[in-house]
């Protein structure tokens, strides 16, 4: 079933329309990859799914995004609530520089006041760091600043941080673009492990990554959704000429 549905979704920066009338159903407990050449609106698309698009100056959205059938852009809906349910990992790792590794993991939960005692806190930190496949590397240094880690570790820390608030959906905006191949492989493994518990949307400019790690793929070109389908079908038997051109490397 569809966890998220985009209904006639258009997004603007000022007068520039970056997404044009997108209709798309994102299936639950699966990994959906969003691919396309740079500037096609991939990032804007995922940022619309947890109302991060509107944080930018002059940005606005038309149409609907349904989360479990409810429009997250309906009047009166609080983006804070939406972002709690739809977590996000960014292109560059963004640990809070003034917080330790442990504090970074717990940062989102602390807002909710749902961490009651230190035992529970330690348990959550360990569980999330294990989920993010970072525990073994940092378990002796939880008090160190988050920024002291390597790039790949920082990104996994950010994933742990996003998982700690127990979202239903995890958005990943090119999470591997600033990482080395080894870290990239770890994060891809992680994505495959997490999909049993989360609905994952991953933006990538790396087609091998989309082919390896995703179940469904959406191909975007100039803000238009060209094709959406099972990853296997998209990469072996695309229906549209543009998709074929892109995945065979004829442009982009």
């Amino acid at each position: 079933m569809a966890k998220l549905s985009l209904v006639h979704l258009s997004a603007y920066f000022g007068r520039v329309k970056t997404l044009k009338d997108i209709n798309l159903d994102i299936p639950e407990y699966n990994v959906t990859a969003v691919i396309g050449p740079s500037g096609c609106g991939k990032t804007t698309l995922v940022r619309c799914l947890n109302r991060m698009h509107e944080v930018v100056r002059d940005a606005r959205v038309e149409g609907e995004v349904l989360l479990d059938g409810e429009n997250i852009y309906a009047p009166g809906v609080d983006p804070v609530q939406i972002r709690r349910r739809v977590g996000m990992v960014f292109q560059k790792p963004t640990p809070f520089p003034t917080m330790s590794i442990e504090e970074n993991v717990i940062a989102g939960l602390k807002l909710n006041g749902s961490v009651r005692n230190s035992a529970q806190r330690a348990e959550i930190v360990e569980r999330c760091l294990r989920l993010a496949a970072l525990w073994d590397e940092v378990k002796d240094n939880l008090g160190k600043p988050g920024t002291s880690l390597s790039g790949g570790q920082q990104q996994r820390l950010c994933i742990a941080r996003a998982l700690a608030v127990e979202p239903e959906v995890l958005l990943m905006d090119e999470p591997c673009s600033s990482l080395d191949p080894a870290s990239t492989a770890r994060i891809e493994e992680l994505v495959l492990e997490l999909k049993s518990q989360y609905t994952i949307v991953i933006v990538t400019h790396n087609m091998q990554q989309a082919a390896r790690a995703s179940d469904y793929t959406a191909f975007l070109l100039n803000g238009v959704l060209i094709e959406f389908g099972e990853t296997k079908q998209i990469f072996t038997n695309p229906k549209r000429q543009e998709t074929e051109d892109y995945i065979t490397g004829r442009f982009g």
Partner: protein
């Protein structure tokens, strides 16, 4: 399943409440901060407008007891002082700004210049007055327009240095490099391509600096000194609007107070017109350095 709108946990409402309260507090702080602005401007209009007529700009101050009179000499004096200061400070400031923005200027010297300019902006204006008094007024044995202009220029130069630097920094490096790649010499590239591209930013920076020094009183007190008569001579004391307003404001005479309000209105009007036009022309890209 929790609803997007629902989930009425107490904690959630507390967080929303706290955020709204803090947000409200900052808005309140902003509105309260603006109260003095409108209070000052309101009083200026109320008290000053009646004192402004043609005579204000064309006649000399009259002695106490005599009705009428104006601050024509002071308006002229301020214009002269500001023009002279600009003539001195702009070439110096723009050149120094150019020095700072040549590629590869991050060494000790460039940082020292930036630092000196920033610190010089923070030197109390009255101390600048003492400096010019010792260096110009005493050797010349007279207060003079020249001394006043030098004092203002000393305050203006660091402002121009920093705005020039900021404006030139906005010129893309590629533009500079493509000019160099065409075989244009470096100095011509900087002067005719980079500066010309940044000209608007530099000009607005100069305008803002001008508005700032036009409102200075302290450095003029014992340099330009003030003058009750028409004078444009460089080597004689000269009247300035700010000094005249100051003198009249601390006098015990209501008629002079009325003139002080009119002078203050003219002064503020000039400054605000510059600020407003700079804002209209450039949006908020150019700001006065701090």
């Amino acid at each position: 399943m929790s609803s997007a709108v629902g989930q009425l946990s107490l904690r959630y409402w507390w967080r929303k409440f706290k955020s709204a309260t803090m947000m409200g507090a900052t808005v309140a702080a902003t509105l309260l901060t603006l109260v003095p602005l409108f209070w000052v401007l309101g009083y200026l209009l109320k008290q000053g407008l009646s004192g402004i007529d043609l005579a204000f700009f064309t006649s000399l101050p009259r002695p106490v007891g005599e009705k009428g009179g104006g601050m024509g000499n002071a308006v002229l004096g301020t214009l002269e002082l500001v023009t002279l200061a600009t003539v001195m400070a702009v070439p110096l400031g723009v050149s120094a700004g150019l020095y700072l923005t040549e590629p590869g200027r991050n060494g000790l010297m460039a940082n020292a210049v930036r630092f000196a300019a920033d610190v010089l902006m923070g030197v109390p204006s009255i101390v600048i007055g003492i400096f010019v008094y010792a260096l110009v007024v005493r050797p010349m044995k007279t207060f003079s327009a020249l001394a006043g202009a030098i004092a203002l220029a000393t305050m203006m130069a660091p402002l121009v240095v920093r705005t020039t630097e900021e404006a030139i920094k906005l010129v893309p490096l590629e533009l500079r490099e493509s000019a160099l790649a065409l075989g244009v010499p470096r100095w011509k590239t900087s002067l005719f391509i980079v500066v010309r591209t940044a000209a608007r930013g530099i000009a607005t920076g100069i305008l803002l600096a001008l508005a700032r020094i036009a409102g200075e009183t302290a450095p003029l007190l014992f340099t330009a000194f003030g003058n009750q008569f028409w004078s444009t001579s460089l080597t004689r004391p000269i009247a300035a609007l700010t000094v005249q307003v100051y003198t009249y404001a601390i006098s015990p005479f209501p008629e002079w107070h009325r003139q002080a309000w009119a002078g203050a209105l003219v002064l503020t009007g000039m400054v605000l017109i510059v600020e407003l036009s700079v804002h209209m022309l450039t949006g908020k890209k150019v700001r006065a350095p701090r």
